[in-house]
């Protein structure tokens, strides 16, 4: 018997494992983008400070750098590792697919990351303690290493959505997977918006400066940076969306609410107004206002963007071959990867899943709901909560129905055909579909499993030879 390498499932019953990953990822994006943008902004400021003999600009670098040490490098590095950890437990085969194709690229990023972390300490603590040219070199090295981390991770993020070139599926190879239209479009867009985040977060530090002239100068510089990067980023966003695969556009049309585009434009417009106001009237910018702007970017800008990015790669979670439910959904001959769908179709999920107790590998009247729960946890829970709360609860899809036969027909039509746009193809044997139907019905009526067991027992009795004999008598 061939087994498919499915891991145990982690199901977070309150908000769902997907939201946990999303929350950590969103916070990390804010930290990491801000720090990369800030590193480059520091290099720019340090260059001005030394060329024009404006040492007061170094005061800002030191203060912002210290702020970033905690804000971005403490929380950023922990949440960065946190993304690995959370995806490991929520989507082990998704992260595994990325790790196994890009381990050396991640290891290369790690080299830059080490340089970056050493660099931020030196940039901050060596202000005024080393000669100007040395400090400038340190700052530029820090900026270049920071940006290099972004260059690498963008390729991996692009692959996660869509392998760089179609040739990757047939020929494999790191370069085919890493470089593509989406890689550069996403890199350009994120590079612009990282400066937007740098400018917003920098406002928290700049607004606390006590030297009023310096405060005004820095706030204006940040405002110009913010205005330029927001306008550029908005323009690059349309390039980015044009590089998305066709099915991503279809999913966007089908899944994202109508107000999504409008709200996105409203957020970008709001950011522009914020920067223009602080440019015209720097006094308006206070630490509270800048902090609110930072949280607003997180909640109204990054969170919807991350949710949208998550949605448009459905039904896949990585490289357009690992389904969101962890099953490998297509062949990738270039990497020697075979779809697991035929194996499940031939033998059923219960027989081929590594992590199932033996008593749940066969369906009977007594264990149908338990088997159904195991199938739901394994095949559905990554995107659909099996509790009342969390991400897209399963019970909401039944309209209150508890008829096992009807639900089973619905499941066979919706899941086993692969015809639902953003849903994986989930092959289910007749028995598996029935067990899943019993479990799903029980979410709306807890008496269903008992009734189903009694019904199966009646049928079994009616069909048994002894029953036939007694009926004849």
């Amino acid at each position: 018997m061939e087994f498919i390498g499915l891991y145990p499932t982690w199901h977070e019953p309150t908000i769902g494992s997907g939201w946990v990953v999303g929350l950590i990822a969103t916070i990390h994006v804010l930290f990491s983008h801000t720090s990369v943008g800030a590193a480059i902004f520091f290099a720019f400021l340090a260059t001005i400070a030394y060329r024009r003999n404006q040492p007061e600009l170094l005061t800002f670098i030191k203060k912002y750098g210290l702020f970033l040490l905690v804000f971005a490098y403490v929380a950023g590095s922990i949440t960065g590792v946190g993304i690995w950890y959370s995806t490991t437990v929520a989507s082990p085969r998704g992260i595994s697919a990325l790790i196994h194709s890009f381990v050396w690229k991640w290891a290369t990023e790690w080299v830059f990351f080490v340089i970056e972390v050493v660099g931020v300490y030196l940039v901050v603590y060596l202000v005024g303690k080393v000669d100007q040219r040395t400090h400038l070199r340190i700052t530029w090295i820090f900026a270049l290493a920071s940006y290099a981390t972004m260059l690498i991770i963008i390729g991996i993020l692009s692959f996660m959505l869509w392998p760089g070139k179609e040739a990757w599926f047939t020929e494999g190879g790191y370069l085919n997977g890493f470089y593509g239209s989406n890689t550069f479009a996403q890199l350009a867009m994120r590079s612009a918006f990282m400066f937007t985040m740098t400018a917003v977060v920098g406002g928290i530090v700049a607004s606390r400066l006590t030297d009023l002239d310096l405060r005004r100068e820095i706030i204006r510089k940040l405002a110009w940076l913010g205005i330029a990067s927001t306008i550029t980023g908005t323009a690059l966003f349309s390039w980015y969306t044009n590089t998305l695969p066709e099915h991503a556009h279809l999913v966007m049309q089908a899944r994202l609410p109508d107000w999504f585009s409008v709200s996105l434009l409203a957020v970008l417009g709001g950011i522009l107004v914020y920067f223009i106001a602080s440019l015209i009237q720097p006094r308006l910018l206070t630490p509270v206002v800048a902090s609110i702007a930072t949280v607003s970017i997180l909640v109204f800008g990054l969170w919807p963007e991350e949710v949208a990015r998550e949605s448009i790669r459905k039904p896949y979670v990585a490289g357009e071959y690992v389904y969101s439910n962890q099953v490998i959904g297509r062949d990738v001959p270039g990497m020697g990867i075979r779809s697991e769908i035929p194996v499940i179709q031939a033998h059923g999920l219960l027989k081929t899943h590594v992590f199932l107790p033996e008593e749940l590998r066969e369906v009977n009247g007594e264990n149908a709901a338990r088997v159904g729960r195991a199938i739901a946890l394994s095949m559905c829970a990554n995107c659909h909560s099996v509790t009342d709360t969390g991400m897209r609860p399963l019970r909401n899809y039944l309209g209150g129905h508890t008829d096992v036969a009807r639900i089973k027909t619905y499941l066979k039509g919706a899941l086993t055909t692969g015809n639902t746009l953003y849903m994986p193809l989930i092959p289910l044997t007749d028995e598996e579909a029935e067990a899943l139907a019993v479990y799903m019905a029980s979410l709306n009526d807890p008496q269903v499993p008992a009734r189903y067991a009694a019904q199966r027992a009646d049928i079994a009795r009616a069909q048994s030879p002894s029953a036939s004999v007694s009926m004849k008598e």
């Binding site: 390498g5 437990v89 080299v111 040219r133 290493a145 107790p357 749940l360």
Partner: protein, 408 residues
Amino acid sequence: METELLYALRDPAGIPSHPVIFLVLGVLTFALHIAAVQMMLGASTLTLWGAFSKEPYRRRLAHSMINVAKVMVSVAIVLGVAPLLFVQVIYDPFWYTANVLSAWWVIGFILILLVGYTLMYVFYWRNHHLSDPAQKLSCPGAMVASVVLLLVVGFIMHVLSQQMLQPEQWMSWYAPNGDLETRGTTLHAFHPWRFLFFISLSAPVTGALLVAYQRYFRARDDVEPAYLDWVRDLAYRMINVGGVVALLLGGVWMATLPQAVAGFALSLWVWVAAGGLLGFVAFAHWVRGKGDSPWAYAVLGVGTVAIILVAVAREALRWAKLHGVHGYNALDYSINMDWYSTLTFFITFGVMGTGVLAYYLTVAWRAGQTRGVYTASAVVDRMGNIAIAMLVLWIVHYFVLGFVWWAL
């Protein structure tokens, strides 16, 4: 769990280089990571030890150690990324399963570390005059809580490492009564002696750091020699006493190994690791006898070698369990060789990374030993220019290759 099932869990994409490379890198980077963790714990404990005292030298040491501790948390996190990456490459069936089975704690690891690290900063911010015994200590509870939380995250990692070694238990943890337990709220396996052994190594490893610290500051005429002598004595005491305690705890760990791998306790790997630790203590003793000499820095180097030998023994134990008992051979992972990404890493690491870090550390070293402003020499300037040139070249290569490949 049967060997066939373990192999089924492997990633079908294979790996882009020979598995032995990932195995070796995993051991080396784990050693560096755990050494940083031990320095972080040692420096944090010395911070508390000094902070609660009115004795001037202890307070002064606490002031230095809180700075060391907060940098070491960063270093430990950064260095921890590498072994975390490599373990997923060749031990993915074990690592992923161990994590999912205690998922709630894996997520908790992130939050606890975040809170623990933040509390350390809170203590630091509230005690800028820590070196002054006349100043009242502010928020000591933050530092105590920080150390406790850092130990908790260490324990979570320890549990995950233990769980990955026990595939025979996985199903009983995942489906204890025949039903799936998917909340991941339980820590299933731990080995207190193993955990205590690694924690106890904090004393000798931090001792080695202090030996280098006292030597480094002897170059500064604004640091009192009597204080440095006191630090030196403390450092060697930590190496001697800590080294012996660690060896004893290591011995108890080996004596309490599960029956299936009990024989490992007397293997060559264990003797070599124990010899490395003993050699480290002996070397430190020898260096102490030489008085004030540059050999003091070598204590840190020899200590690192000893930790590498411990890491090798730890890996050998994993091999003994997973291969010897469960039949899983990490070295027969299928290879999808990718020369470009393999060479990119080694060149970036060996040439560019080494060059840039050499420049950074040279500047940091010299600046730390200079009163006033440090002016770099022509050689150091040249190192800086080369470092920038290498980084620019790397970025140019990324775009040129990327655009050409994309256009093809």
